[in-house]
């Protein structure tokens, strides 16, 4: 169990906190957030690699805030694996055992178990330089878990891997979490990883937690404009109420069900905003005429920004469909939004 109370960390160019967080025993917890949000800082503070300015960190009810890293019993796995290049796989994995003599007898067993669980037995005498990305990451996992840490911290363990290795390591993580009592805390920016691995998650932004809860809830029911934006709802608007009606600027927006009075924002995913060139082919109550102010290349897709009066909408179109529709910047277009696609918060 990890319990963080009123944590503050001040670095020369970044400050984190106040931050409170409780992660129960044996959970698989995911920390999401944009680059520079403080995800790695939080992880390194828990591991004891950074100086805490204020606040408390408890591991299994024991305060560890000012303990050196080697006394905390917390494993850490980095994105770049950080394998010891001068040691064989076997010696990498066994590295920590001499510091845990009371676990030595059991560890022999546990190490064999880990090695077969992670399918590493054929690699034991190789050096890290000759391993694939996925193999390296599996060795890093085995090394961290060989000393049976109470907590395992994972700093984007999947993001530097090639797609095929990514799958391999994701499966390994799933298996390991099922077979150990260790609490996993993983940093990621990939929704697919969070959805497939985690029980609960937190979204962190500017050193503070924006939302914490079940992964699905964060994805479907963002509590703030930032989280809505972070999970891909690019159209977030403040709404005015006039009686039962909702307005974004001068535009009346229809929802499937009227939202609770406390909700002052709506969000729409860009792929739910349909752009037409000719006329009103849609029968949605949310139909507006505007013009294209920008077409942004986003690799596989184009983001098309449409200005309707004072309101900017962002729509997502595939390259071929943009090309076939012939839409260019400056064109007059029509957009429609299904009421069911409008989320209030």
């Amino acid at each position: 169990m990890i319990s963080i109370q009123d944590l503050h960390i001040r670095l020369s160019d970044f400050s984190l906190g106040p931050l409170d967080l409780v992660i129960p025993e044996s959970e698989f917890f995911v920390l999401m957030g944009p680059t520079g949000a403080g995800k790695t800082v939080l992880l390194e503070a828990i591991a004891g690699l950074l100086t805490v300015t204020r606040g408390h960190i408890f591991i299994h009810q024991k305060e560890v805030t000012y303990l050196p890293p080697e006394k905390r019993g917390i494993g850490i796995v980095y994105q770049d694996q950080a394998l010891f290049p001068h040691l064989t796989v076997r010696n990498n994995i066994a590295y920590g055992l001499r510091y845990h003599p009371n676990r030595q007898d059991r560890s022999g067993e546990s190490m064999d178990g880990l090695i077969s669980l992670l399918n590493l037995s054929h690699l034991m005498d190789r050096f890290p330089g000759n391993l694939s990305g996925g193999e390296k990451q599996r060795v890093a996992l085995a090394r961290a878990l060989a000393v049976r840490p109470g907590i395992l911290l994972l700093d984007e363990p999947l993001s530097a891997l090639d797609p095929n290795f990514k799958e391999e390591v994701r499966n390994a993580l799933q298996t390991l979490h099922q077979h150990t009592q260790t609490t996993f805390m993983m940093v990621t920016h990939d929704f697919a990883d969070a959805l497939s691995l985690a029980d609960r998650a937190a979204v962190i932004h500017n050193g503070r937690i924006e939302q914490v809860g079940q992964v699905n809830d964060i994805f479907q029911k963002p509590v703030s404009g930032f989280v809505a934006d972070f999970v891909g709802m690019k159209n977030v608007f403040h709404v005015q109420r006039k009686g039962p009606k909702l307005f974004v600027g001068p535009l009346e927006i229809h929802l499937e069900r009227p939202p609770a009075p406390a909700k002052a924002h709506i969000a729409v995913r860009p792929e739910d905003i349909v752009v037409h060139t000719d006329a009103f082919v849609s029968n949605s109550p949310n139909r507006f005429k505007g013009h294209v102010v920008r077409v942004l290349d986003q690799g596989f897709m184009y983001e098309v920004q449409i200005r309707v009066g004072e309101v900017n909408f962002k729509s997502l179109m595939t390259k071929p469909s943009l090309f076939e529709s012939g839409i260019r910047e400056g064109d007059e277009v029509f957009i429609s939004i299904r009421p069911a696609a409008v989320h209030a918060f």
């Binding site: 020369s12 390194e44 591991a47 004891g48 690699l49 050196p68 890293p69 080697e70 905390r72 917390i74 494993g75 850490i76 980095y78 770049d80 950080a82 394998l83 010891f84 290049p85 001068h86 590295y95 920590g96 001499r98 510091y99 845990h100 890290p128 330089g129 090394r143 961290a144 000393v147 840490p149």
Partner: protein
Amino acid sequence: MISTAVKKQGPFFWFTVLCGSAVLAFILLPLTELLTAPSVGMLRETLEDPDVVRSIGLSMYTAGAAALISFLFGTPLAFLLARKRFRGKRLLESIIDLPIVIPHPVVGIAILSVAGKNHVLGQILHELGIRIMGSVTGIITVLTFVGLPFYINAVKDGFEGISPRLENVSRSLGASMFGTFFRITFPLAWRSMVIGFIMCSARAISEFGAVVIVAYHPMVAPVMIYERFEAYGLKYSQPVAVWLVLVCLVLFFVLRMLTLSRPKTP
């Protein structure tokens, strides 16, 4: 058709090649002349002179000792400089580089200034029976002074090339910082330590001005070359010079090989 592939280089290119050739000739001509001037017989004869062998041996011993002292005291400091950020770090780095710019005889004079009997430190050394003036101790002190910056800078670069994450992981697995240094950092940085050791030795072995102030005797090789030149002229100083240059060139080429084949730590 293929012959036209060698595109004609412009006049600017040939101008740079011309200047480059002049520089090359300027460096290589004196050295090749020096190395080829004495006959093989003279070189062999010189090696049979016990004074020459003793002075070259003393040069290698004192330079090695200076590098060893730099290794012992410089390694922890280099680690500190590579890993920690602190106020005044740049000033500290400037101070470490100071011995490089101090004129060589001045280095000797500065060291004698603290070792003299009218200085507290000198009195302490005197009571301990340690003599700087005219002693091997003095030579090693002077050579350490001029060689230390080369060792520290090389090893600092080496430590900076090792990811602190390796040390973080080691500590998270239960190793103390001492244990981490000896099991992880040291084995990965030994190559840069060897490079630093050689650079420090090479600088120390070639020193003359500082040594000649502190200790004319016992005679290191550069002092002996100077003495032979003063007493017997160019022709008699050359064979000793050739032997000393050969020692330096061996060091230099080992260094180049180590530097060029240097692998990146992952």
